[in-house]
Each structure stands twice: as C-alpha cells, then as structure tokens.
Symmetry: C2
Subunit: 320 residues, 2 copies
C-alpha cells in the first residue's frame, strides 16, 4: 500500500470534519493514510505557531512517505521559508516522496526549485479542499481524483487541455515547469526563495483577485524580465473576484491582453488548474514539453515509470 501523510503547513483547519472525511476517502482509494500529529493545531489563523508548523514539515520530510499531501493552503508558508532545512526536504524527494498541494504551497514548491535543480513537487489537490467536501458540498471531482491517483502511482506523463482559440497551433516548447499561485509567487520576487528559471514553462492561477490586480502582477513579472525569459506562460483559472461598475467592460481578457502586448512569449489560457474543482496534477520543477495542435495542447514529461525504464535501459548498456 502507498503511504500518504496529511499535514497542515499554513492556515489552520476550521473544523476536523473535512480532514476526517478526506482521510477516509483517501484510505478507500487505496492509500495507507497517516494524519500528522499537528494537522489540527491552531495558533491564531495558523495551524500552530511557526515552530510547530516547521517541525511538522521536517517530520514529514524525515518520515518520507510516498505521498505528502497538504490539507489546505491559506497563508503561512512564506513565514517558514527562511528556516526550512531544504536538504531534508530534498532527501525525502530522492527517497520517493511526492509532495502535493497548491495555493500557499506555491511558496514551498518554488522555494525548492530556487535551491535544488532536478527535483520536483506536485502542484495538485489539497486534501480538505479536494477530498474533504461533503457530498452536499459537491463531493470529490472525478477528474481531479483520477489524475491525482495516476500521478501518485508514477504513471502520469501528460495532461491535455483546450485553448480558447487555435492561435498557438504548431507551438512546441520545452523547459522547466514552475509557478503556481500568482500572488504567492510574486511574494517571492526579490527574495532568496525566487527560482531564477530561464527558458521555462511558467504556469499561473489565482482566486479572488480583481483582473486589475492580476494584471499588475503579470506586468511586474514582465517588467522584471521574467515573462520574456520563458518559453511559454500557461494561465489557469482566475475567477472569484467581484466586478465593479468602474470596470466598464475591463476584465481578465484585458489583463491577459496587456501582458501579451508587452511580450513575445506565448501566453496560453485554459490550463485546468487553480482554485477550481477540476484540476490536474503538474510536476513543478520537472522538465516538460508542450505541443499544440489546433486548439489542443499537450503538456508532457518523463513519468517515473518511464524514468525507471530508462534507468534500466542505461543499466543494460553499462553491462554490454
């Protein structure tokens, strides 16, 4: 059985119920589930004070389960970044741990890339948000679940999505996948936790941010030289913000347009990722290839299974 640990690195859980439900469902999906001792800890809005949450993170790293799945995001990771023992985290990944989450976990995932080349974590579901909802609240999204299961088995090697137009027909790019939540990512700019990725594939999503705020952050990345240095930018979901009568038609399309008018880097939309029910799993830090045919985009990478095959192959050669 695949070991899976649930831990809470940032915001406190409002109630234990969703965590219990997520643990039960993940158990039914075949995981041997462990709930970290401080998964329900509380200190103000945080899941325990900084020392508590840092200790939990290191404890999970040392235990090196097959899957380290965060229960929720919120805010709290950037408080810990300066103190994380990245070698311990890296060792867990080398031992096979797949770290999974999104939103505030963007800080952990990109902080890792800033230091450890060639290692990756998974942008994917959060236990309470994606596996903890009651049936009345929508239950578990099947696509999210199936993609997660495939990724955690090591077999997932590509995800596909449909762009709104065929304008990027024929596009082929290759580079390191990085990014995640736009606000959290931008909060790393200028710090030692910023991954200086060139020629990468940058994916971005956000929630409850007005299009003008999304645009301001996208323009910051462009003015900082980040966008122009990428092979491609993939935009996921940017919903949830209340419109204002002052907008007079200005919306997320205009924010994307403002970015596109300032860069030659292809900026694709439609990536099924973000604070939405249906989300894919993406290997943050891994080298990916993207092909677009018409409106269909395929984002692929070497799965663990394929890597294992290659290693075996190399081994054969070594003995010839």
């Amino acid at each position: 059985m695949t070991s899976l640990t649930l831990f809470t690195p940032a915001g406190a859980l409002a109630k234990a119920e969703n965590l219990k439900r997520a643990a039960r469902r993940l158990g039914q999906l075949g995981f041997d589930v462990t709930v970290d001792a401080d998964a329900l800890a509380r200190h103000q809005r945080f899941a325990g004070d900084d020392a508590t949450r840092l200790a939990a993170l290191h404890r999970v790293a040392d235990a090196a389960p097959s899957v380290a799945l965060a229960t929720r995001g919120g805010y709290g990771m950037t408080r810990l970044l300066d103190q994380i023992d990245w070698d311990r985290v890296a060792r867990s990944i080398e031992h096979g741990t797949r770290w999974v989450g999104y939103s505030d976990l963007t800080a952990l995932q990109n902080g890792l890339i800033a230091r450890k080349k060639g290692l990756s974590m998974w942008a994917g579901p959060l236990a309470c948000d994606d596996f903890g909802r009651s049936e009345a609240d929508g239950g578990v999204d099947e696509v999210t679940r199936d993609c997660f299961l495939e990724a955690m088995s090591g077999a997932l090697e590509a995800v596909g999505f449909r762009a709104p137009t065929a304008e990027f027909d024929g596009l082929e790019v290759r580079g390191r996948l990085w990014g995640g939540n736009l606000t959290v990512l931008c909060s790393l700019l200028g710090t030692p936790h910023w991954p200086k990725v060139k020629g990468g594939v940058l994916f971005l999503e956000d929630i409850n941010e007005h299009p003008y705020r999304v645009e301001r952050m996208l323009l910051q990345l462009q003015q900082a030289g980040v966008i122009d240095a990428q092979a491609a930018v993939l935009l996921g979901d940017f919903s949830g913000a209340a419109k204002s009568p002052l907008d007079r038609g200005y919306g997320i399309k205009d924010a994307v347009g403002a970015l596109r008018s300032r860069t030659r880097t292809p900026v694709l939309t439609g990536l099924p990722f973000g604070h939405i029910r249906t989300k894919v799993c993406l290997p943050v830090g891994a080298t990916v290839e993207m092909f677009v045919q018409g409106r269909e985009a395929i984002l692929g990478w070497q799965s663990d299974a394929r890597l294992a095959h290659h290693h075996a192959h190399d081994h054969d050669h070594a003995h010839h």
Copy 2:
C-alpha cells in the same frame, strides 16, 4: 498666484462633480487651477488608454505648473512606467513643480527615485479624494488642507506624530524618504522601477488589505533584504480589510510583530498617512531626519525656504 494643474494618470473619475468641487475649493484656497484636457477621459476603468494618460503626464511635465496634483489613484501607473520620459518629469521638478498624490502615485514617485537622485515628489492628498468630497460626505479635512498649503508654499519642513508607545524614545535617524502604498511599492520589486535605497526611511500604508496580506508583503521586503537595509520603517494606516472568524485574534499588530521579530530596523507605527482623511505631506525622495522623544516623533527635512536661505548664504560667502 500659484499655478496648480489637476490631471488623472490612472483610474477614471466616476463623475465630474468631485473634480469640479475640488477645482473650485483649490481656487478658493488661492491656487490658479488648470484642469488637464483629459482629466475626465475614460477607457474601460482607466482615465483614457495608456497613450492618452502618458501624454497627459508629459503635458503636465512640460507645462511645469507650481503644483501637479493627481485627481485620484486607482490602477494604471505601472502600465506607464516603461514609457515615461523621466528626463521631462525631472526637468519639471527642477523648474519647481511639486507633484502630489498617493496610492497608485507611489509607482511614479518611487520610479523617479530609481533614476533621479536628489529629486523628490510629494506624498500627499489627491484632489478628488481630499478636496472633492461634498460637505455631506465629510468635506475637506483641515489638517490635510493646512499641511498641503504649507508644503505647496515651500515652508513645510517637518511633521510630527505620536507613536503608540515610548519604545523608540531617543531614536535619531537620517536617510532618504521613500515608499508609500505597500501593494504598489511591492509591485515594483524586481523591476527597473525599484529604487534601491539603502539607509533610507521607508514609509508604508495600505487599504483593504487583510493583515495576513500586509504581513506577506512586509516579509517579502524583509526577505529581499530591503527592511534590514533601512535606517527606519514608518507605518501609516492599514485599515479597511474585513476581519475573518478564521483570524482568531490575528490582526495588524501581529503582522507588525512578525516583521519586528525578523529585523533590527526600528519599525514605528502611527504615521498619519494613508487612505485616511487626515494625512500629512511627505517629500518622497528627499533626505529626512527623524527624532523620537518619548512617544513624540518629528520627521524633518530642509524646506525649499531653508534651501533658498542656504543658497543665499552660500552666495554671500562666495562674495567675501
């Protein structure tokens, strides 16, 4: 009479009424008021498209009135930063123009510091927000008005404020004053518009940002080495954000505490500046001195009057 031009560099004005009222009141205060031709322009949420607003900015710079007062903030300055002719703006200041505003104007004020040492603009009121309110909506704040009049006359050479405690009693610092709106300032990090001020006095304010978001930005500045490099940090108003039951007591004091625990730079609170009725005028880019006695802080600088006196004095010496 002192010439004063009203212009709209970012967000569109919702209605002409507040602009007319501000122009009338500023006239009554003794200014010879000109309203820029595009002060009421509209393009989506902006006061005209980027070319229109950029042209307005350059037109005001070329006209070089005594006072160039923005009508409102909103969002839009960072769209223009790459295209501003900073030499034209600098020439207007050398000719005596005092540029005034806050909020989105933070981008203009700090973008200037990034390029032109020794020049300053004024963090101070916005025409519609501070001089355009109907009497029913509160009218004009007397302190804001009087401080503005003194600053625009060239006589203002200090502002005082009371800190909540006497913990900084005896503090004396000297450095370049910079900063403004926290979100707007952070949106310059990593770009060519970021002023790399060392040993400065950094002032910050924001509105409608939850304390955890304020904290995330403060920690970003700290992690980027910005806070530690300053002589002092002065915090203005940070109100307007809705509290959440998830906060469990966490608030702006905790955000400030999180910053203080990570830096030896004095972080003072209580600066009367921000998106509030009563606000002082501050010379962004100028060298300031701050003295604290008990809870009373005095932030002073060389006024134009004093500078003029010094110049005259130098001149006398030259003839001895």
